[in-house]
């Protein structure tokens, strides 16, 4: 299974100009991480489109954000907790009725272990 380090990070990312254009090998690596099959013929097209989007995003680098807290949640809420008790009913059969392939309550996929 591929790991996150498949895309080689720069030693110290040059934040003054992060959006270098993506080349086809970068697109191929991203597609692999995202588990999306992309035909070789389509890599160029995606590289161009994604590079355009990164150009748009590049504008962020103009703003000085030193000392600014990142905002993950609009209302700055903390995760609500509840007692550690089982509250859900077992509806496996109900949920599996539209599954692609099942057997004995298990989901079937191609063999994983060699």
């Amino acid at each position: 299974m591929a790991s996150v380090s498949d895309i080689d990070p720069p030693e110290t990312p040059d934040t003054s100009s992060i959006a270098m254009a993506l080349d086809t090998s970068a697109v191929a690596k991203i597609a692999h991480l995202a588990r999306l099959e992309v035909a070789d013929d389509d890599l160029d097209g995606y590289a161009a489109e994604l590079s355009n989007i990164l150009d748009l995003v590049e504008q962020m680098q103009r703003v000085d954000t030193s000392g600014v807290d990142p905002m993950a949640h609009p209302l700055h809420m903390a995760q609500r907790l509840r007692p550690d008790r089982v509250t859900e009913a077992d509806q496996r059969e109900h949920f599996q009725q539209h599954a692609p392939l099942t057997e004995d309550g298990l989901y079937l996929v191609p063999k994983v272990i060699e």
Partner: protein, 485 residues
């Protein structure tokens, strides 16, 4: 019947001028007649609708009906509806039958609303024109060669064409407000956390919010009242009491302070759209409001920030579509990796794939700080701009969309051009504030929307402000031609 307000329909049902069954059949007939040209519905649930209408008629006869009992509505196909296909506009979920009702669906059904069917939308809510749907584009009822806006384009077109009394939608970057503007109807996106996201297929979890598309603020108030409220099943649900929105509609506007952000009236805004918006603002002055210019200096960064945050969150949310437990599975997978890659490549359309890939890149090692973290920092600055503005004004107004409805296909070859349609709406989602769009004077025969942005949990105030304008003007009563029968 289809031109009546929801309150008028409720009165008609109560006084037995017509039954919910007749009203529902009326809408189903209109859908058969007019929807082939618009494509606003993906699934019409005729039998279930008529059964629900019969139950509603019984409730009304027993004297236990409420303001929405027997009223036919439609749900954006992003809300899970038990036993009914829930496609999210995608091939990935084309054959997915939802095994439960979303909270929003459950609450509207409990209020007695009748569900006519599921409306078309941009795939996985990603789009501003309803052109990315697996089920084909939706056409704007005002001009069939133009887009209705997106991603809630189906709901907007269905409401504008009067193929339902009102509809639900979702708004992550403007997807209720922008189509409402392009279709000449009213749309409201409440404060983040106001409505439950349980059963609402996730796109970007810190931005998504359910809302209403309707022909008036008064109608929207009735639906929002039923939909809103704390839900323990949604970990981001706000535990805030729900006001009686209908009771707040007629409040006086004397002393209301309106702020117009200078950044929302600059380059890129169509002159005729600007003129309609300014005319509406003058009406508010006649109602006793005062207007001043304000500044939201970090606004120009909304679009770049959104196109990091939303794709990043979507790449995470869409990881669940792996062909294993539900949704599309490719034929004859060679191994597990092939199963994932081909199921996803076949199930997702081009825009979804672009956003998943951008999001994956932005979150990957070496780039997370420069992209995602940076975006979340600027998001904080954008939110602070609003906080500062609301210290001096009660409501912020401006255009909802920089242009009127554009032709189908005009922006599909340039994703970035498409993204700029949401330039005025996106900041509201980043800050989590409530926003509305209401129709004002058209420009060159096409609808124009005025956007209203309120402070946190001020939906009642927004509905009130919109309603007072709708009492004085008839822009919201205009209907697209050729759909009267």
């Amino acid at each position: 019947m289809h031109d009546k307000t929801i309150a008028e329909l409720a009165t008609g049902l109560r006084e037995k001028a017509f039954s919910s069954r007749e009203l529902t059949q009326h809408y189903l007939d209109r859908i058969s007649r007019h929807d082939p040209a618009l494509n606003s519905y993906i699934t019409v649930t005729a039998d279930a609708a008529l059964a629900a209408a019969d139950s509603a008629d019984q409730a009304i006869a027993a004297g236990v009906g409420g303001p929405l009992t027997g009223i036919p509505i439609a749900h954006k196909d992003i809300f899970c509806t038990d036993g009914v296909r829930t496609s999210c506009g995608s091939r990935m979920l084309d054959r997915f039958i939802a095994p439960y009702d979303a909270t929003v669906v459950e609450r509207l059904a409990a209020a007695g609303a009748v569900c006519l069917g599921k409306t078309n939308m941009d795939e996985f809510a990603m789009g501003s024109s309803n052109e990315t749907s697996w089920y084909g584009p939706v056409r704007n009822p005002w001009d069939r060669e133009r887009v209705p806006g997106g991603s809630s384009g189906g709901s907007a077109a269905a409401v504008a064409a009067r193929l339902c009394a009102a509809a639900t939608g979702t708004d992550t970057g403007g997807s209720i407000r922008q189509p409402a503007a392009l279709c000449g109807i009213t749309g409201i996106k409440p404060t983040y956390g106001r409505c439950s996201r349980w059963g609402m297929i996730a796109f970007a979890s810190s931005l998504d919010q359910a809302g209403v598309l309707s022909r008036s603020a008064a109608d929207a108030a009735l639906l929002l009242a039923a939909m809103a409220g704390f839900d323990p099943r949604d970990s981001t649900s706000a535990d805030e009491p729900v006001p009686d929105y209908a009771a707040l509609l007629d409040g006086d506007l004397a002393g209301l302070k309106i702020g117009l952000p200078r950044e929302y009236f600059g380059e890129g805004l169509d002159a005729a759209v600007a003129a309609s918006v300014q005319e509406a603002v003058k009406r508010f002055e006649r109602l006793g409001a005062s207007v001043r210019e304000i500044s939201l200096p970090n606004s120009p960064l909304s679009v770049p920030v959104y196109y990091v945050v939303a794709p990043a969150e979507c790449s995470s949310n869409l990881a669940r579509y792996d062909g294993v437990r539900f949704g599309h599975r490719c034929a004859e997978p060679k191994d597990l990796e092939d199963l994932y890659k081909r199921s996803r490549a076949e199930g997702f359309g081009a825009e979804v794939k672009r956003r998943v890939m951008i999001g994956t890149y932005a979150l990957s090692a070496g780039y997370y700080d420069a992209y995602y973290l940076k975006a979340q920092q600027i998001r904080h600055l954008i939110s602070d701009d609003f906080r500062a503005a609301f210290a001096n004004v009660d409501v912020i107004m401006g255009p909802t969309s920089p242009t009127t409805a554009f032709p189908l296909g005009a922006k599909t070859s340039d994703p970035v051009a498409m993204y700029l349609n949401d330039i005025y709406t996106i900041a509201t989602n980043l800050a989590g504030l409530p926003g509305m769009s209401i129709p004002v004077a058209p420009a060159d025969g096409l609808p124009v929307g005025l956007q209203l942005i309120g402070n946190y949990f001020q939906e009642g105030r927004l509905l009130n402000i919109a309603h007072r304008l709708q009492r004085e003007t008839d822009w919201h009563l205009a209907a697209p031609p050729g759909l009267d029968d």
